[in-house]
């Protein structure tokens, strides 16, 4: 389906990192109102609101509660829950709402406060609850331990090394060093990553994403309406999803993911190949997730993700800039909203506002996120409006 008659016209990030003076709902409302203002619109123009529930303070009807808090009365509210993939699934639902006439102008908004509004023990309980309640949780699984299973399977099958996984953080920090809003900005070396403390062997602390507070929102409307608004419209060119399992113990193969399905569908929708992508904003919850996405999305051959990362291709000056904001490894990872900063950064790049991180040429961006443990995948291709 042609998606390019839907445009992103507004974008806003809240304060990020460690934000102690307001919780998830207040952050989400800050994001929502900020994005509406950025689009040059009034509240009355918004007839759709799509949000992601908070893990810290979940509410029964999240989008409706957000609208109430913000004083919005949209004709359409929807809370989407596809874990880490929620941002891009929500983006597609927003486009669908616009294309089917359910709404004309939709805000996609999400925020959470895993860092400052949740105890460590509660955070551990929430993350391990992704395991199957009957046949995984009794064994004390953690999310890093699950990704460590994946990392070790990839090492065994393809000879990938711990030093190659470490390159994910080296690349992330090289970009985050250039981003004043990133939570961690110090450059690191492969040796720094290898020397960081073991969390779930073979993964170390610096193979893992950070824990943050923060949120962001975007505004979508018809391309026709977008022509009258302040920012040059950015359009959706392609979208795909892939779902092979939910609980990791049900995976057929840990070294290949449904990202291959979602990526293929999104690229086909846009009518382009991986080589046509100038910016890839990927889901770097843990280093092996990033490495396997690079393979499954077609940026390198299966089994060569380690070499690809080590080549420096994803770093500043590389052939395939990845997560130019710093990603969830360094920039901001408040919980399920983590992927939205890949989107807001891409918008910043299109607008030419990324300062030291600015890419010289940008036509196509690939955005990818996943929920569960490499379970549910969603891919978006963005481009400029013709």
């Amino acid at each position: 389906m042609d998606l390019s008659n839907v445009a992103i016209v507004g974008s806003f990030e809240t304060d990020l990192g460690v934000v102690t003076d307001r919780g998830p709902m207040a952050l989400g409302v800050q994001a929502t109102l900020g994005a509406i203002a950025d689009a040059g619109l009034q509240a009355s123009a918004i007839d759709g609101l799509i949000t992601c529930n908070s893990l810290v303070t979940p509410v029964m009807y999240h989008a409706e509660a957000t609208a109430e808090y913000a004083g919005l009365t949209p004709g359409h509210c929807l809370s989407v829950g596809t874990g880490g993939g929620t941002t891009y699934t929500a983006l597609r639902y927003a486009a669908a709402a616009i294309q089917t006439g359910l709404a004309t102008t939709v805000v996609v908004s999400m925020a959470d406060s895993m860092r400052s509004f949740m105890t460590r023990d509660r955070a551990m309980a929430v993350q391990s609850s992704s395991g199957h309640p009957l046949f995984e949780q009794p064994y004390g699984p953690t999310v890093p331990a699950y990704y460590a299973l994946i990392a070790r399977a990839h090492m065994d099958t393809y000879g990938t090394t711990e030093a190659q996984f470490a390159e994910a953080m080296v690349s992330s920090r090289a970009w985050a060093h250039l981003n004043p809003t990133a939570q961690y900005r110090e450059r690191v070396t492969v040796d720094d990553v290898l020397a960081s403390k073991p969390i779930a062997d073979p993964l170390k602390l610096l193979d893992c994403s950070i824990v943050s507070d923060g949120g962001a929102a975007v505004v979508l409307t018809t391309l026709e309406r977008a022509r009258d608004l302040p920012h040059a419209p950015i359009v959706l060119k392609g979208y795909g999803e892939g779902h092979h399992y939910e609980h990791i113990s049900q995976a057929k193969d840990l070294t290949k993911s449904a990202a291959a399905d979602s990526g293929k569908a999104a690229l086909a929708g846009a009518g382009i190949e991986p080589a046509d992508i100038q910016l890839a904003q990927l889901y770097d919850c843990f280093s092996p997730a990033l490495l396997i996405q690079l393979e499954d999305l077609g940026f390198c051959e299966k089994g060569t993700g380690g070499e690809f990362l080590a080549s420096g291709a994803t770093r500043p000056g590389g052939n395939l800039p990845v997560n130019t904001h710093g990603g969830m490894l360094s920039h901001c990872h408040p919980g399920n909203p983590g992927a939205i900063f890949g989107l807001t950064e891409a918008i910043r790049q299109y607008r030419g506002e990324a300062k030291e991180r600015q890419l010289a040429h940008l036509e196509h961006t690939l955005l990818h996120a996943q929920g569960g443990i490499m379970s549910s995948h969603a891919t978006v291709v963005l481009g400029r409006a013709n």
């Binding site: 009957l134 009794p138 064994y139 331990a145 969390i199 779930a200 113990s249």
Partner: protein, 135 residues
């Protein structure tokens, strides 16, 4: 009343035989009488053919390690006493994979492909959990 704080499975009608089996020292695997698939985890419908004509077979209790990880940090307080935790994903010759903990061994003893066997630990009156140890 047990003072066991860690998560325990809720016994459901279609998984009851599995837990009855572990209490008796048997590892039972659900089997589809219609299409011959072995199924794990237990459920009401065969995921291969959607038949509800499901029975049980006795597994050999042997398995090989497909992959594993060793958790040193980042668990809930109630699991801290178990650190380091060896989480393993094992292949059973019956054609299924399951998650477990490897016990009675040290992390450095574990390797992908190594042979393991089931060992049962009685947790509460109702629940006996299967773990695996090196052969």
């Amino acid at each position: 009343m047990s003072d066991y704080k860690k998560p325990l499975p809720e016994i459901q009608p279609y998984s009851q035989p599995f837990w009855d089996g572990t209490k008796k020292g048997l590892l039972l695997i659900q089997h589809c009488n219609a299409c011959d698939a072995n199924i794990f985890y237990p459920r009401r419908d065969c995921p291969e053919c959607w038949s509800q004509d499901l029975g049980w077979i006795k597994a050999s209790g042997r398995a090989t390690v497909y992959t594993y990880s060793v958790t040193y940090e980042g668990v809930e307080q109630k699991f801290v006493e178990d650190l380091p935790i060896i989480l393993a994903w094992i292949d059973l010759p019956e054609g299924i994979r399951m998650h477990t903990n490897l016990v009675e061994c040290q992390p450095e003893d574990v390797a992908i492909g190594m042979e393991v066997e089931v060992v049962f630990r009685s947790i509460t009156e109702d629940i006996t959990l299967p773990f695996f140890r090196p052969v």
